[in-house]
Homo-oligomer: 372 residues x 2
Amino acid sequence: MLGKRRRLAILAEGSFTPLEGKTAVGVLRYCPDEVAAVIDSTRAGRTAEACVGLGGAVPVVGDLAGAAAHGADSLLIGIAPQGGELPAAWRVMVRAAIERGWDVLSGLHSFLADDPELAALAGARGVDLLDVRRPPARRPVAAARAAGVEALVVLTVGSDCNVGKMTAALELRRELQERGVRAAFVATGQTGIFVADHGVAVDAVPADFVAGIVEEMVIEAARGADVVVVEGQGALRHPGYSGVTLALLHGSAPAALLLCHHFGREAIRAPRHRAGAAPVPARPPAGEPVIPPLPEIVREYEQAAAWVRPARVIGIALNTLGLEESAAHEAVAAAARGTGLAASDPVRFGAGPLADALLGHLEARRRHATAS
Amino acid sequence: MLGKRRRLAILAEGSFTPLEGKTAVGVLRYCPDEVAAVIDSTRAGRTAEACVGLGGAVPVVGDLAGAAAHGADSLLIGIAPQGGELPAAWRVMVRAAIERGWDVLSGLHSFLADDPELAALAGARGVDLLDVRRPPARRPVAAARAAGVEALVVLTVGSDCNVGKMTAALELRRELQERGVRAAFVATGQTGIFVADHGVAVDAVPADFVAGIVEEMVIEAARGADVVVVEGQGALRHPGYSGVTLALLHGSAPAALLLCHHFGREAIRAPRHRAGAAPVPARPPAGEPVIPPLPEIVREYEQAAAWVRPARVIGIALNTLGLEESAAHEAVAAAARGTGLAASDPVRFGAGPLADALLGHLEARRRHATAS
């Protein structure tokens, strides 16, 4: 990961759960061989499997020493607090990791390598501070050029943040690759970058260039690929992140969309009021935006895509975390019935039906191209 | 402007025209007393009035010496090349301005004060390098809090970039103020910041925080205001900038929108292919996105707003630049007929009808609030 094989200690303090420990779970799922331990003092002594349902016997430990005892040689900051700052309590741990001679991998908005104290310490110990959220220096402006690639571009979009867009993209790619399809993955967030070993965390890019950066990545990934699967971010109805979502939609200019939803979620999870944030206005805000039924979300994404390039939602990736097996099957079947689209929980039941739908789309496109 | 009264030399080299010289024209229109000269060697010897139809006898000169002869004491970089870099040819001029002891005001994406050579030179001469595009350090995430302010929030939106969103906002505010309405202006782009002396160039903010920054600015501006007029950016159909547009729409959570359009423009002006940009893909891109008829644009903005908070388009600000007087009147009348909304070219015919429509909206809101 990021330049060499590692034995990671993943910091997930106080949040190593299936829903909160997004980065930790993603890295455990896709890079299990590189994880030595997870640090969460509130769950120390358990296994990863017991906490998040995957990761097998990977131990949860209380501190760096515990992780070192299991052979860790790098610290990965696996939590992304809102606002992206390094909490004061973690600074101590980052410093201690550097002092042990460990590289530190971070997806925080505040860059470790820009922190004079940490940078000096890292320099003295000869370790790397790897800030995967640091935006590239280049400043491309998108012009729907990605619409011109030969490969079929598919973007995962969501009803909200944190519903499984990265996971759906990676599961779809895996399924396509297993069928012999040349499928590339474009990572657009920190966890995706850790897993794929490349990509850009687009939410940290100056807003004018998000679509342009995505456009560049898609064109690059399309070389020698039949399908390019792009990791989506945010949601069109999220008051804080909708801009990132639309920039991704127009920058990647996909022909196909895969809509991701967490079963049962009915309202957008907007950030709560924080200390230091804007003062509360005179009247209470309107409440968290509602998540409408799936067919309406399908329509919204297709409308928004068509402002630049028409796209079709080809399937529903339904996150059924928390449901019993039979209820999960029923939820998937209901999503398929309700939308008339292919549906699956790609983690639980595989991405097969979604890959079928996508390849059907690809086949129709090829026939159309041959005919015309 | 930006801390003191100035005598500006505005650099608009090769582009001092009504359409290209956006920043120069905006500053000339709203801060005429602070402009000593405009630098454009291709038009030296003319007046501002002759080049862009306003600015009266402000001279166009060929270089710094020419501007100095007219009393300039600061250099304002009034062009924003795509990508935002400082062209090599202008560096010489910036250096020369610093050597004259002038402050330099810049809206470029690449910050003058971060350039070691320029920063050292400025330090030695005791002058300020004012980068108005530098984003604030804070990182707020929006949660539709601006929907809760008492003031009526109106956002200018557009059919494309560079159609007159800032100008429409400033003209509307002026008209409201002349009628005794307490109207605040929220600047979101470089020219608006020069004119208003505050604001944030949201297109340079890391994408995750654009809506949050706008939300903060609106809540702040709403204190003691009846109406908050927010300067819009980009367009929902612009492949490069649509994300900024949606972030502004959801972050400012307006109740009212003012749709700006340049008469006769039929396609989005997407950036052309540039040297150093992504290589041209195998097939040609789909062409520049079409600008649909006004009623359809109205519907699109209202749909997109409603994903977070419902808003109504209350009028059309039609830029009739280039039309004869009678044709301009007819174009405005046609826009009003076609949409059933108030319409005006606020620069040419005043913002009266737009202010009427907005105040009608405000009155209806107040009656509703009193009744309920």
